[in-house]
Symmetry: C2
Subunit: 82 residues, 2 copies
């Protein structure tokens, strides 16, 4: 059993209205030191797989096919035995 921690972020050149909204809200709350906010997704996927290499290949395929949109998003993931 492996647990993949997947991080999906917008590519740096892509506009991020959610991040801008969070930044505005933080400023309104008095956090004037906030320079920039980028919002992304964090997904934990648990797979029944004993071979870490196979698990890695599967998770990468899941990211490309469903979890991330490769046109506008980057993804990375850590794999740990669970």
């Amino acid at each position: 059993m492996y647990l993949a921690k997947v991080y999906v972020t917008l590519k740096p050149t892509v506009n991020d209205p959610q991040g801008l909204t969070i930044k505005g809200a933080l400023h309104n709350l008095g956090f004037a030191s906030v320079e920039d906010v980028r919002a992304g997704k964090y997904i934990e996927v648990r797979v029944k797989e004993s071979d870490p290499k196979k698990a890695h290949i599967q998770i990468d395929e899941m990211c490309r096919k469903l979890l991330a949109n490769p046109v506008i998003e980057n993804y990375r993931f850590d794999l740990e035995k669970a």
Copy 2:
């Protein structure tokens, strides 16, 4: 300048319809080995602050006040010099 990488996850006892939907979609795509999926948020916050202790306190306050809902969500963050 510090960059905080904030991870917000639903508490384990809280129902996660988004995670269940992703799990169903992965099964439909043929990833039968997927056991469980939990969806969360990943937020990068860049703060203009030279003291790491002060940055840590500020980010923690941002999490409690805006980024996470402490009733149903857990949060953690890493702080790195940027």
